[in-house]
């Protein structure tokens, strides 16, 4: 928890605590969670379902207010949606009444900016979707839709990408494909990425650093630095190092003390070993 803050830290979360008001009383979602993300780093937050990962990410994006603590981007406290942040959501979250091009142009409409159409064309080409601009989301597979969401998030060139379990709904093969694509794009663009997932293998494959979160209320359990060489290949996932690391992280989650403030706590926390 005593994470030393370096000068190159792009995004810093300090003692983040979040309660939701619900009909059955306050729900303690995140508890005193601190993390820092280096400029250009790829960071994952893993934890069991419902542990407050998404809450934490939405607070980083300025979509929710923290009950306590602060989020800082470039040293400035986040109080609302930040222009330097691009978000990628669970499932693709495309607007079904808009064509792909119109979906990608949405941020520019809202920000009242002139879109860089060449840049968007290049991005579409990069994710293998050039020529699909006039299609509607329902005409595409889940993986293709999520590629469009990636293009939409990159279109206005944010320096931070916040990804909220983006590939959770995809089948294992498509997920592998998307993970490779995300790593490639990250290596090309050097965005600062915070990636939320409950899939430990995915987290190990993608990140430089993993923050492990306990079951609700979400607390920081441990930090793992992942130092496999880049670019990583899928063969890496079959190695013993990865296997051991995944099990170690899983054990950390399962043995995290869960002194519940609100609601019943699950006695065992299931990791997600099916994927990967």
């Amino acid at each position: 928890m005593s994470e030393a803050m370096g000068a190159g830290d792009k995004l810093v979360v300090e003692n983040a605590t979040k309660y939701y008001d619900t009909k059955s009383g306050p729900l303690h979602a995140v508890d005193n969670f601190s993390m820092s993300v280096a400029e250009g780093g790829f960071t994952c937050v893993v934890g069991p379902s419902g542990c407050g990962k998404t809450t934490l990410l939405w607070c980083m994006a300025g979509l929710h207010d923290l009950t306590g603590g602060t989020v800082k981007i470039d040293g400035e406290t986040v109080t609302g949606p930040h222009p330097q942040v691009g978000m990628i959501f669970q499932e693709a979250n495309l607007l079904p009444w808009r064509t792909l091009t119109k979906n990608i142009l949405l941020p520019f409409e809202i920000k009242r900016q002139k879109p860089d159409l060449d840049h968007i064309d290049r991005l579409l080409d990069r994710v293998g979707l050039s020529g699909f601009g006039n299609k509607f989301p329902r005409e595409l597979s889940g993986g293709m839709q999520q590629r469009v969401a990636i293009v939409r998030a990159l279109s206005f060139n944010p320096s931070v990408l916040l990804m909220d379990e983006p590939f959770g709904a995809l089948d294992a093969f498509t997920r592998d494909e998307m993970n490779l694509l995300v790593e490639e794009i990250w290596l090309e663009t050097h965005k600062t990425i915070v990636f939320i997932t409950h899939n430990i293998t995915e987290a190990v494959f993608l990140s430089d650093r993993i923050f492990v979160m306990s079951a609700r209320p979400g607390r920081l359990v441990k930090i793992f630095d992942i130092s496999f060489a880049r670019p990583r290949s899928l063969d890496l996932l079959a190695t013993k190092e990865v296997f051991d690391l995944v099990n170690e992280i899983k054990a950390e989650i399962e043995h995290a003390p869960s002194q519940g403030a609100g609601g019943p706590q699950p006695t065992t926390v299931k990791g997600d070993r099916a994927h990967g």
Binding site: L63, L95, L106
Partner: protein, 285 residues
């Protein structure tokens, strides 16, 4: 013969859909064109034949069984009345359309506006809901005699009745549409820094549009119903008034000619909204 021809076309039609590649584009396109032609042709044949059977059958049945004209005039007589007596129907159609358009415009606009405002404030919605429900469930025709007492036999009572009938229908459906909140889509817009107004125009309105279109269609059909009903209650003009007049004077071919005009009007309303829905709400399918 016909069956065999259809049977030959369908697989080609299917193949074109599955293929869709550029290599076989030309030949597949011609296959598609031929398929559509045959399908449409036989569809038209079937539709025309059924129509001929229904109308011709009625004509024959009415004549053979010597049904008295005040019960059911033969279709040919209705058709003739529609043409020869249209000068007695046309002006009344215009009156009905004026009432429908004015009342509907007022009612639909008010209904849409109220739905948009009220769904933003759940508390206000709770207060207004019982009254809206009352307006939806009470036949507005019941108010027409009262409105006539106050406003006389002109357009006013009818326009008010149409507005009162169509407005709540539009409102209740539009409100259902506006209440469909998708938190993720709103969060998406917010993440780009969208204002409340931008979220309304870029997310809430498009999401509500399919329900709004349904509401507008139901409202228009209820408006037509109420306009004709109000005309039957009092006042010397409008298609509803023609219905009461023609039936009182036993001019049954003319009476049925008015019924035909009314059903064409209703079908036109339906088709118009069907096409609007196809254009603006097809993403939902």
């Amino acid at each position: 013969m016909a069956d065999k021809q259809l049977g030959d076309k369908i697989p080609e039609f299917g193949k074109r859909q599955a293929g869709g590649g550029q290599a076989g584009g030309l030949s597949d396109m011609s296959g598609f064109g031929g398929g559509t032609g045959a399908r449409t042709f036989w569809e038209i044949v079937a539709i025309v034949m059924v129509a001929v059977c229904v109308i011709g059958g009625t004509e024959i049945a009415v004549r053979v069984m010597e049904v008295p004209q005040y019960v059911m005039p033969p279709p040919s007589a209705i058709f003739m009345a529609l043409i020869t007596d249209f000068e007695f129907i046309g002006p009344h159609l215009v009156h009905t359309l004026i009432e429908l358009f004015s009342g509907y415009t007022i009612g639909a606009a008010t209904g849409l506006l109220l739905a948009a405002i009220i769904t933003q404030f759940p508390f206000a919605e709770k207060i207004v809901a019982p009254y809206v429900l009352m307006l939806v469930t009470t036949p507005m025709l019941a108010l027409v005699p009262l409105l006539i007492l106050r406003f006389g036999f002109g357009y006013e009572p009818r326009i008010i009745a149409v507005a009162l009938a169509s407005g709540p229908m539009v409102m209740i459906n539009a409100a259902t549409g506006f209440r469909r909140v998708d938190l993720a889509k709103i969060a998406l817009a917010r993440s780009f820094g969208a204002t409340t107004f931008q979220i309304f125009t870029k997310i809430r309105v498009p999401m509500a549009l399919p329900m709004i279109i349904v509401g507008l269609m139901i409202g228009a059909i209820f408006g037509l119903l109420t306009a004709v009903g109000a005309e039957m209650v009092g006042g010397g003009f409008g298609l509803g008034n023609r219905l009461t007049t023609f039936s009182a004077t036993l001019q049954m071919p003319q009476f049925f000619a008015v019924v035909v005009v009314l059903s064409i009007l209703g079908i036109l309303i339906y088709v118009a909204f069907f096409l609007i829905g196809k254009k603006w709400a097809s993403w939902q399918a």
